[in-house]
Symmetry: C2
DNA sequence: TCAACAGTTTAGAATTATTATAATGTAGAA
DNA sequence: TTCTACATTATAATAATTCTAAACTGTTGA
């Protein structure tokens, strides 16, 4: 969607230096029409397919965490050994296909707002996430 | 709540041999009035306080996974490095206090049923879980 | 009663995701 | 161009979890 100079602006305006590595990761994460879910490992593979210059694993972690902190990525709580990240930062919920180990967005229009009729004193709500685990019908 | 012979029956009827280690873990997990949440590490600490006989880490993992498979424990998807387990296997949702790293049950009466108006062909729903992340108001 | 077997436990090694370290490199300001 | 704070990197460290393979034990049925 955006070209490099737009990523550079985006990074600068976030207080992040537009380094080669961060721009490349922006291209991979934010160039596509569709949003998607990924693990750090997925991202490392995408990077190695997209470029000959390697980006170190530490930088991938650092960048993903920086983007998450800036709100450009969300981390999705799937109980798993690996963290799942989401380039779709709008409010939405997920199916998790346990047979295929696949995360699928649920269109927000398809979920009635979740009503919680209780609260915890001294705490404020940061997010409300619904995870619908599904599996093959036959199993 | 139950005494040892009841745990033995419970284990036997589940097809699990009632070994010393499993009975001890049953006592720790299911003897208390209130249900609770724990990590493997929490459980290991409880065991070492409750008995002089050590139970190896591998057995703790094996047993927790066996109990989960039998439906005596639930695993709660908090994105974290550690798995959280729940002795409350009835349908309910959670607050996760990000300031205190604390999991708190939400009484099921306090949550309106979550309505999902879409489905995935060939898949059936296994669970619907709501996670409400909260933090200190000041932060 | 007890031998035999399947299932279980165990210590320790292996694996995997993630984070820390500390040296080197670089973007941006002056 | 020079300087400096920030970023990247290779590598080591850490931490959760799983694997391995040998020793052990609950149960069964002769
Ligand atoms: Mn797990
Ligand atoms: Mn994390
Ligand atoms: Zn999503
Ligand atoms: Zn709970």
């Amino acid at each position: 969607m955006l070209n490099n100079s737009q990523y550079i602006d985006k990074l600068r305006s976030s207080g992040l230096r537009p380094t080669k590595q961060r721009i490349k990761i922006c291209e991979i994460l934010f160039n596509s029409q569709k949003t998607f879910h990924f693990t750090i490992n997925d991202l490392v593979e995408k990077i190695s397919k997209a470029t000959n210059d390697k980006i170190s694993l530490a930088t991938v972690y650092n960048t993903v965490h920086a983007f998450k902190k800036k709100g450009y990525l969300k981390e999705i709580p799937i109980n798993s050994d690996q963290s799942y990240f989401d380039t779709n930062t709008s409010h939405h919920h997920h199916f998790y296909d346990e047979s295929q180990k696949d995360l699928i967005d649920i269109d927000d229009a398809d979920v009635e707002p979740v009503k919680i009729n209780t609260k915890i004193p001294g705490k404020k709500i940061r997010s409300v996430e619904v995870l619908v685990k599904v599996e093959d019908i036959k199993s």
